[in-house]
Structures are given as C-alpha cells and as structure tokens.
C-alpha cells in the first residue's frame, strides 16, 4: 500500500507563498492529476514530495513522514520526472536508465547483475530495447519521455511524481505516453501524482483531479465532479466550455464572439 499525503503544505521562495496550506492525498494505485493555470503552484507542491524545495507542513509517503527518511530511502519510495529533464550528450539510453538504480547502490559501489536485469525490464516495459545503445540526447521528444519513464520504473518506486511529463509532446505522442503511464500504474500498482495542462487528458486518464489556483487548493475529487464549467471558468478563463464525448468531459476554450467580428 503506497499512499502519498500532503498535509498543510506551504512553499515560500521568499516573495510570498506559492503554495498555501494545501492538504491532499492519493491512495495506492490512484492517478491524481493536479491542474491549474501557470504559476498556480503545481510544480512547487510536487517538488515537496521529493524534498527538492523547502516547505512547511508535512508530506507522508507510505505512512511515513518524508523528513524522517534518508535521501536514499525516500528515493526508493518516490520517483520524479521534472518538466524538462536534462539528457546529457553522449550518454547511452541504458546508462541513463541505470541512473534509476542509484538509490540502491552504495556510494562507491557499481551496478550488480540484478540492477542490469531491472534496467532491461524497464527498457522492455517501455519498448526501448532497440534504443539501449543510442545517445539519449539524439532522441525525439516522445522517445526521451519514455526513457525518463524507464528510469523511474528502474527506480522501483511505488509513487511516481510527474511534472508536466507530456507538455512538450504532440497530441499522439502525448496520448501514447499517458497510455504507457496508465499501463505501468496498473501493472506495477504505482501511485501517480502528476501536474498536467491538458484538462481533457486529465479527465480521461486520472482517477481524481485537484485544481490549484494562486497557491490554493480550489477543488479536489473525481474528474466529472471537479472539472465543471463553472469552476474552470472561474479558475482559468470565462471562455472555457465543457463538452461531453462518450461520457467523458472534453474541455475546450472558445474564442469569444466579438473576436470573430
């Protein structure tokens, strides 16, 4: 059972709070989407889960306070993919995925055959075997996202924190990556917490959605309950419309009528 729970979490970089008193949780195997306009505090909230920012309040993973865990213990529980990961020039895909095994290695140790086997498992889960020797810096956007996911799968963390993992992808590549995440979530029983811009995708893929605005948690619940026109119009823009296709909400932004004239 791997759950993640944010309790009264606040983040302040020195110029006023960017996250204020947010309490929010996800249960094991759940996919929680965090949506909101740019600057809403989504990334900062996610970064508290991996201790990448200073914050007040508490974050519990698996029932344990992250502040009581060592860096390695935390890294074995929570894996993280940043908005724009750095893919070092000249590094082979295999080596990049192998970095996911870092929390399991002693400071001076090198990888075991077990580590290597897990890297191959991760590569095969993301259909990347043929790319193993390729330079990670020469791959396309969709391929590098899969490589990042392979790295966090090799990390064997039960909680996956994704910061806009698909923001830079075209529609089909984004869809493919989200499907991969969903498959990994069910096959490995992983809890996913992801910031996501595409509200329609959030509605289709995620079990629950939390809306943030200016550092505050506005609403949290099942996608159909939370992603309503009135809430979204208030948080994002009055031009937002929520349509429905096959029972799922489809969220679009319409150009105002005056603009056509």
């Amino acid at each position: 059972m791997s759950t993640v729970r944010f309790e009264k979490v606040s983040v302040d970089y020195g110029a006023g709070p960017v996250v204020s008193d947010v309490s929010l949780g996800a249960i094991a195997g759940e996919w929680l989407a965090i949506v909101g306009p740019n600057g809403a505090g989504k990334s900062s909230l996610l970064r508290t889960a991996v201790a990448a920012v200073e914050f007040t309040g508490s974050v519990m993973v698996d029932g344990r306070l992250t502040t009581t865990l060592t860096d390695k213990e935390r890294a074995r529980l929570v894996a993280y993919v940043s908005q724009r990961p750095r893919y070092p020039q000249g590094m082979a895909v295999f080596d990049y995925v192998l970095l996911g095994r870092t929390p399991y290695m002693g400071t001076l140790a090198s990888e075991s055959t077990h580590d290597i086997a897990l890297v191959w498992e991760a590569l095969s889960a993301l259909r990347l075997e043929a790319f193993a020797s390729r330079d990670v810096a020469t791959l396309s956007g969709g391929e590098t996202q899969r490589v990042s996911l392979a790295r966090v799968i090799a990390q064997r963390a039960a909680i996956l924190v994704l910061d806009e993992a698909t923001a830079s992808l075209d529609v089909s590549a984004q869809h493919e990556v989200l499907e991969v995440i969903d498959a990994l979530r069910s096959s490995h029983n992983i809890t996913v917490v992801s910031a996501i811009h595409d509200l329609t995708a959030a509605a289709q893929f995620c079990n629950s959605v939390a809306i943030m605005d200016r550092g505050l948690l506005v609403n949290h619940g099942a996608p159909v309950d939370v992603l309503t026109e009135s809430v979204l119009q208030e948080v994002f823009d009055p031009s937002i419309r929520v349509l429905e296709v096959n029972g799922d909400p489809v969220i679009v932004s319409l150009r105002s009528e005056e603009a056509y004239q």
């Binding site: 970064r47 060592t70 993280y80 990961p85 000249g90 590094m91 082979a92 290597i116």
Partner: protein, 350 residues
C-alpha cells in the same frame, strides 16, 4: 539471461591496457631522450633491475645509472603525477560543474597560487636560507585560499546556490587575485623574470624530493575523484534530478572540489601553472571513447600522465640546452592535436 545485450558503458579492458601501454612507452621515451642518449633496452633493463628479485646486467655505466635514476626518472615521474592530477581534476571539475570549459584553475586555484608565489618571490626573504622553500608553500596556500574564497562567495549568494553561481564566484575571485598579482609583479619588476618563469610552469627543478612532496596529495586527490566517477554521471542529469535519486549534489560537489583542488594546489606549488592539460586530456578521452565519467576519469589519469611526459620531452629538447616552459608546449602542441581530434570525431561536446 541478458546474453548478448549491451549492458551499458563499460571501461573496456583494452582501453585500460592501451592507455597503460601509452603511459609506459612515454615513460621509457622520457628517460631515454636527452643530451646523453640511451637505448630502450638499457632503460627497460635498468627499470627491471630495480624490481625486487630481479638482478640484470644492464651494461650501464655508473654515470648512466645516475642520469637515469637521479636526473631523468624523478622528472618523468613528476610529469606523470602532475599530468594525471591535472587531467583528473579537469574531468572532475567538468563533471561537478556540468561545464565542458571547466579546468582545475576555474575556481581561483591558479590565480591564488600565482599570487602566493609572486608574494614569496617579491617579498620573501632569501629563499636559500629557509629550511623549506617558501615559494611552493605560498603557492599551495594561495591556491587553497583562492578556492575557499570562491566557494564562500558562491555559497552565500542570496539568489540560490547553483553550480553557475559558484563558477561566477570563481571568475570574480580569479580576476581579483590576478589583478593583485599583476600589481605586485609590476611594482617589483626586478623579480618579473622569476615570477613569469614560475607562472609558465616547469619541471626543471624536479628531484625525488618534489615527487615525495606532492605524492600524498595527488594519491588522495586521484583516489577521491576516481571513487566519485559514477556520482559524476549522476550529477550530469542536473541537481534536482540527482537529488531525487537519493544523492546530495551540493555535498558531492564540495567533496570532489576539495580533493581535486588539494591535489591541484600541490602540483601547482611545485611546477607552476601548466595550462590546458585539464581540458585537453579529458575531452580527448571523451571524444575517443565515451561521455561517461566511469570511463573518462581512469583513462584521463593514465593518459594525462603520458601527455605531460611527452610535452616535457619537447620542452627540454626542442631548443636544447635551453628549455621551453612546459605550459607553452602543452598549448602549442596540445591545441592543434585537440583541434584534429575535434574535427575527426563524430561525438559532439555538449
């Protein structure tokens, strides 16, 4: 189970053997070449003769023995030690700062050593009276003080401690110390020649005493950089990602910089500022083999030693009996060689 599948970047044994062969060949050449010519078999014989349980008749005269063991060998070994240290420190700095232009002098070690040496030369009492030569001592202290300043400055910046603020702090400290050094050098112009000679670097004074002096620092410095080679790969994904993998980038950076600087300060104190080695050797290794520090660090240690031995052969023979400063040789021969590697290599430096 994974037979035949690639298992990631490996330090292949043939790379290590190749680099070791180059190093040994360079050492033999370094001992052979000079005003008194010796043959490779004489040199190898004399070296084997020194091994325990080996007793060879090398056919060398007592004078030739003395040339090999009292004059040439300490100089060659010092070149190996200095070249290894500067190359490994360069690789380490490039790794912790994720900057291909980083070299061991980046954070002010060179400028600090220069200022220390200049102060000792200009204002020091007659160095002959001292029990220990104050110039290397002052250079060593200057290098450590320079880097400490840069680190303190970089880590007290309010806008956040990143590797970039540290580099900028290093640039500021280096500029300041160099300005002080230049000022003193201009005021005390009668010592100009000595200061200048020191700054350009030389292995001219090398004896076993110098080798013994730097060896402990270099062994520790190389040991730490070598041990940290896998962590340098982890740092290459950026500080945030590295920290989510359970390591502390700031701490790794501090430890590696401390020990790389300690080794660099020690070799600079004895030989002066030998430039370019810390950039050219790691990048040549990178372009020819792999971008992984697990490969770059060990091969840079071996090939950095070989490179400086070869550079020193040119420095002391090209215009014999005079010597060219070795820092000039590393740049004059190193730069075109590096340009050639850069042009013919498929890999690109990020």
């Amino acid at each position: 189970m994974n037979a035949g599948r690639p298992t990631g970047t490996r330090l292949h044994w043939w790379w290590v053997v190749g680099a070791a062969v180059v190093l040994v060949a360079a050492i033999i050449a370094g001992v052979m070449i000079g005003a008194v010519r010796l043959s490779p078999s004489q040199v190898v014989g004399s070296m084997l003769d020194r091994l325990p349980f080996v007793d060879l008749d090398t056919g060398l005269t007592v004078r030739q023995e003395a040339i090999v063991w009292q004059i040439r060998m300490p100089r060659v070994i010092l070149a190996v030690v200095v070249g290894s240290m500067l190359s490994a420190a360069g690789a380490a700095y490039q790794g912790v700062f994720r900057n291909p232009l980083a070299d061991p002098y980046l954070l002010g070690a060179g400028a600090g050593a220069g200022l220390g040496a200049t102060l000792a030369i200009a204002y020091g009492p007659n160095t002959g009276d001292w029990l220990v030569d104050p110039i290397p001592l002052a250079a060593f202290a200057g290098a450590l003080i320079g880097v400490s300043f840069a680190y303190l400055l970089g880590y007290t910046v309010r806008s956040g401690r990143t590797s970039v603020t540290l580099i900028l702090a290093g640039v500021a400290v280096a500029a300041f110390l160099t300005a002080l050094q230049t000022f003193i050098q201009q005021r005390e112009s009668e010592t100009l020649r000595e200061v200048y000679g020191w700054i350009l670097g030389s292995l001219n004074t090398a004896g076993w005493a110098e080798v013994r002096l730097v060896a402990p620092y270099v062994v520790v410095g190389l040991g730490v950089v070598f041990a940290g080679r896998r962590l340098l790969d982890v740092l290459s994904v950026g500080d945030t990602d590295a920290s989510t993998l359970g390591v502390r980038p700031g701490r790794i950076r501090l430890v590696i910089v401390i020990f790389a600087t300690l080794g660099t300060a020690a070799v600079v104190a004895v030989t002066g500022l030998i430039g370019f080695v810390g950039i050219i050797v790691p990048h040549t290794v990178r372009l020819l083999t792999s971008a992984s520090y697990r490969v770059i660090v060990p091969l840079s240690i071996l090939l950095g030693g070989a490179f400086l031995v070869l550079a020193d052969i040119i420095a002391r023979t090209a215009v014999a009996p005079a010597e060219i400063p070795i820092g000039v040789v590393t740049a004059i021969f190193g730069a075109p060689f590096f340009a050639m590697i850069l042009r013919t290599s498929k890999a690109v430096v990020s």
